[in-house]
């Protein structure tokens, strides 16, 4: 099915199931421990062995020798695989560094070997006995130092409209400030884990992966197999945030270990290895210049961003939102990429916008202050209903101003003191901050198959994944709505590469795109059902388990009385996204307390108002947004992969050193969704929210800290040591 004209009325608009706060359909499985995650698939793979990673312990250099003799003699050891004896390996399209290194070491904790043994403990002990000798090489580990050598990473790295330099020079009010964001880790709950089993030259991998089709291709490319010889199964995933978009070392090591040991092998990445072995959100240095008239209208806006990655990697696209968020006739953006020998940088929840807004939304706050304007008013004043770089291109839907107004009202923004450092509650300085939320809405081709059985149940099959987001539930709701069934009559099967290829979970496109694919499959199924029942497919109404047309009404199940009826299709997209800019919008409001003596920062309350198309399930959507807001608190106040610039690695590589928020950090969160639909996004009229929720949060907190203390911090995370000098004397 092709979606190339805006949606009109369709069965989803009935909203009998879709749009309702249905609890997670797989929730009971998860709360009772019966939803088995990749590493727990002993049911599917009894008698598997365990593999343990041997990670590189230098930042850059070469392996001189790997001595496995002691390890081979250790109890229970079945096989040891290094690059030398792994056979020829390719590299996946989505990987920058090799998943099995050697002799070249590209980054710290790059896998150099896997040790397979009967038990996990034996494998771990034997892995510690593998002795690797290295020749260390000098690497580039410091983004600030490498900034001067950064190059333009592609034609779309820059954009320019009007005369930025002239307009900026002539602006009566202007800002020129530089901000930094650190490297960050996904730090999802479930570590990367896989079990691999071979049958001849075919491999099945039970894994934790967000993008089944991408990763099936990359496993095949890495192992030199035809795609058809690879099957990935990933029905339950304990969080991903972009860290599981790609095949990682666990899957490859399990496959190599299993081939060598001639037995299925399970490999998980130990938590202390995850931070340097897998991908991370790259650090940025961002320079923002804004010029405005005395009236508060932006006349010039410029945003430059520098980031680093391994050779062959890509930039953090931190200027994305600045191309679209605010009006202004004269504009420029530029991204530059330096080569760094740190672990591979890649996507993490809202890549581009998340770190980009961390900088831009402080700059906007600073600019509002220079203009003596309320920061909410300043943002509203510079709203645009068209793509400011291509004014002939309107937004498909943009209720940004409504988000700001609604949020300001609900949050009690009028009680904010515009003079920083003037509100006190006992030992605490209190401040409020606001930031815009913005994240593009991407639509991705997505397929599904729906089977109607004689008992009247429908089973949806798609390789879509549920990484904790609620995919199972919204897909069940979609099929139930389309077929006129109660949700209990729908079974959803996900995350198997034998199922139709879906959009997968990434870039906040999964919710809208995967349900649109299920919509397309249901349209096919409805046609087949109507035909079977001898009803007119064009006018057939599916309601309450019945199909009605031309005055006749028959039970839906009857269509499958002589055998199941199947509908399979893929939703594809035309050029609507080119003609209309599709984005999601929001406003984040935050109140913080800063201890006047110690500088401890504690968030007191948070509000997000989101405009993100139709909300398919308010419960799971809210869960996505509060999770993202929590992650934004981490980004604002604590998350930083600290680079040891001498040794070339992330030092704080466990969850005691890399702090993320705990419950005590998150006292009160409120989420409001504006009641909107976007007919240009898909027949679902929905958009993404999972990433919108993090966009801008950190800046809203930084702005609230400024409002509380008068100390402007431009280098994340905003920690108390950066405030001490500006706090009142004690």
């Amino acid at each position: 099915m092709k979606f190339d004209t805006p949606a009109t009325i369709n069965p989803i608009d009935r909203l009998k199931v879709v749009g309702k706060p249905h609890p997670r359909v797989e929730g009971p499985l998860k709360t009772t421990g019966t939803a088995r995650y990749a590493y727990e698939r002993h049911d599917a793979v009894p008698d598997h062995a365990y593999g343990y990673i041997v990670p590189a312990t230098i930042g850059k250099g070469r392996v001189l020798s790997i001595d496995t003799s002691r390890a081979r003699r250790a109890p229970g050891v079945l096989a040891i695989v290094t690059a030398k004896d792994a056979g020829a390996l390719g590299k996946g399209k989505y990987n920058t560094a090799k998943l099995l290194g050697g002799p070249e070491v590209q980054h710290y904790h790059q896998a150099l070997a896997v040790v397979v043994a009967d038990t996990f403990e034996q494998a771990r002990w034997a892995a510690s006995l593998v002795k690797v000798e290295y020749a260390r090489e000098k690497g580039a580990f410091d983004l600030a130092a490498a900034k001067g050598s950064a190059t333009k990473p592609g034609d779309d790295a820059d954009s320019a409209v009007g005369d930025f330099a002239g307009a900026y020079a002539g602006a009566p009010v202007k800002l020129d400030a530089t901000y930094t964001t650190p490297d960050q880790s996904h730090a999802m709950m479930e570590p990367h884990a896989s079990i691999a089993a071979w049958e001849g030259d075919k491999v099945t991998i039970w894994t934790a992966n967000q993008m089944i089709a991408w990763s099936k291709g990359d496993v095949a490319a890495t192992l030199g197999l035809p795609k058809d010889n690879v099957r990935l199964i990933s029905p339950y995933i304990g969080g991903g945030f972009g860290g599981k978009l790609f095949v990682r070392a666990d899957a490859l090591l399990a496959a190599l270990g299993a081939r060598a040991a001639k037995r299925p092998v399970a490999v998980t990445l130990p938590r202390p290895v995850m931070f340097n072995n897998t991908t991370h959100r790259p650090a940025t240095i961002q320079r923002i210049r804004i010029g405005a008239g005395e009236d508060g209208k932006i006349t010039a806006i410029g945003h430059e961003s520098w980031s680093g990655d391994l050779k062959g990697g890509g930039p953090e696209t931190a200027v994305n939102q600045t191309r679209l968020l605010y009006a202004g006739a004269n504009r420029m953006t530029a991204m530059r990429l330096a080569v760094l020998d740190l672990p591979e940088g890649n996507a993490m929840r809202a890549p581009g916008e998340a770190p980009g807004l961390m900088a831009l939304e402080i700059a906007i706050d600073e600019m509002a202050e220079k203009l003596k304007l309320d920061p909410v008013q300043f943002r509203i004043l510079n709203d645009t209903q068209v793509d400011p770089e291509k004014p002939e291109r309107p937004f498909s839907q943009r209720n940004f101003v409504q988000c700001m107004r609604e949020g300001a009202d609900r949050f009690g923004w009028k009680n904010r003191s515009s003079t920083p450092g003037t509100k006190r509650d006992g030992a605490w300085l209190v401040g409020m901050g606001v930031a815009s939320a913005f994240r593009n809405n991407l639509v991705m081709k997505s397929g599904a198959r729906v089977r109607l059985a004689a008992d009247g149940t429908a089973t949806v099959e798609t390789d879509m994944t549920d990484i904790g987001t609620g995919s199972y539930t919204i897909i069940a709701q979609t099929a139930a709505e389309m077929l006129g069934l109660p949700i209990e009559k729908v079974v959803v099967k996900l995350g198997d590469s034998d199922f139709p290829v879906s959009a997968g979970s990434g870039g906040q496109w999964g919710g809208n795109s995967s349900t649109a694919g299920v919509y397309a499959a249901c349209v096919k199924l409805r046609e087949n059902v109507a035909k079977n029942l001898g009803l007119d497919p064009a006018t057939a109404v599916f309601e309450e388990g019945k199909v009605s047309a031309g005055g006749r009404s028959l039970p839906l199940a009857q269509a499958a009385a002589k055998g199941e009826v199947v509908g399979e299709d893929t939703m594809e997209y035309g050029d609507l996204e080119k003609r209309f800019q599709q984005s999601t919008f929001g406003a984040h409001f935050v109140e913080v307390g800063v201890h006047a003596a110690t500088g401890e920062i504690r968030v007191r309350r948070m509000l997000a108002v989101c405009a993100a198309g139709r909300i398919l399930n308010p419960t799971s959507a809210r869960s996505q947004v509060i999770g993202a807001m929590t992650m934004g608190v981490g980004a604002a106040l604590m998350e930083e992969l600290v680079v040891d610039k001498r040794l070339g690695f992330f030092v704080n590589h466990d969850l005691a050193g890399y702090e993320v928020p705990v419950h005590a950090d998150i006292p009160h969160q409120e989420v409001v969704f504006l009641d909107e639909t976007d007919p240009k996004s898909s027949p679902m009229k929905a958009k993404g929210v999972g990433e919108l929720g993090i966009c801008g949060v950190a800046a809203a907190i930084a702005n609230a800290v400024y409002n509380a203390t008068g100390v402007r911090v431009r280098d994340y995370p905003v920690t108390l040591d950066k405030l001490l000098r500006g706090l009142p004397t004690v």
Partner: protein
């Protein structure tokens, strides 16, 4: 994890004797620190003596009006004890500022005293660390040292002691009771229990090989106002950047001890004479000769500011 042998102790003296008999033995109680370190190869004992079954998990009053806390009393139980809450509130508060509910349920009084540092280079067995591997150097010096110590440090080691409970114990003049492999008991004032790193940061206390902690005793209650302020980046479940334990009397006299700034819970009795002069004077004495890095230099003003806040709070 290195393979090891295991036995269950039948009595404190038997445990100590058993530990002395086998080379490279560790006692295991709650295991909240030791097991983690064994899994990543930082601790590699050949033999474990499990002391959990010993009858060392009660809290009782001592004849001189103090309190005897069994070595195996869990942190949760100690923090919730009625006498501790009323008479040694700073200890209860320090305990509750540490770890998480789950960890406190397992962690023991003696084990808490013996926690190892949280220096990230200590935890990464492929980095230089004189505490883990004597003579290998110190990667934290010149590396990332935000959480590290600023007083009592040496050129060999700048690791900080991570315990909150021990800070309160030091403040309260606790004594550590032990049994030695020969069955003899001894009592070590907590001021003499820890050892500064010097050239041997692998030696952290004065316990002899095989010596088992059986109890921690507290003298008579001090009265006064008890405060424990732990400063950290997140609200819970994090180690202290700095912490201040204080007992302040109505006349302004009192005691102060610090966490997060030294290789041991840090108290300088002479500094307490300055309490009437305020936080600045006390801090100057407490942190005299501080050796800071670019990452942890903020601990000096942070201690002073936190102490000022604690003293203000104690005044009410």
């Amino acid at each position: 994890m290195k393979p090891f042998t295991y036995e269950r102790a039948t009595s404190p003296a038997q445990a100590a004797a058993a530990a002395a008999r086998t080379r490279n033995t560790k006692f295991i109680a709650g295991g909240t620190n030791l097991l983690d370190l064994m899994k990543i190869g930082v601790e590699e004992p050949d033999h474990l003596v499990d002391v959990n079954g010993l009858d060392l998990d009660t809290i009782s009053k001592t004849d001189d009006g103090g309190l005897r806390i069994g070595a195996l009393v869990r942190n949760t139980d100690l923090a919730a004890d009625r006498i501790v809450r009323s008479d040694y509130a700073v200890l209860s508060r320090a305990l509750l500022a540490g770890a998480s509910g789950q960890l406190r349920n397992k962690a023991t009084t003696a084990g808490n005293l013996l926690q190892r540092t949280r220096c990230p280079y200590f935890y990464d067995t492929h980095q230089a660390c004189n505490k883990r591997l004597p003579g290998s150097g110190c990667a934290a010096l010149g590396g990332f040292s935000r959480s590290h110590a600023i007083v009592g440090v040496s050129k060999a080691c700048i690791a900080a002691h991570p315990s909150d409970m021990a800070v309160a114990m030091r403040l309260l003049d606790a004594k550590v009771e032990t049994v030695q492999p020969d069955g003899k008991a001894r009592s070590i004032p907590i001021a003499d229990f820890y050892v500064l790193p010097g050239n041997t940061p692998n030696v952290e206390n004065t316990l002899q090989p095989g010596e088992l902690i059986t109890a921690v005793t507290l003298p008579r209650p001090l009265g006064g106002t008890h405060v424990y302020h732990k400063v950290r980046d997140r609200a819970s479940y994090a180690f202290a950047l700095v912490s201040v334990a204080a007992v302040v009397q109505k006349d302004g006299s009192g005691r102060v001890a610090l966490g997060g700034v030294a290789p041991e819970p840090w108290r300088v009795e002479a500094a307490e004479a300055e309490l009437p002069q305020g936080a600045k004077a006390v801090t100057a004495r407490l942190l005299a000769g501080a050796q800071t890095t670019q990452h942890n230099a903020m601990k000096v003003p942070l201690v002073e500011r936190t102490l000022a806040s604690v003293l203000a709070q104690a005044k009410g």
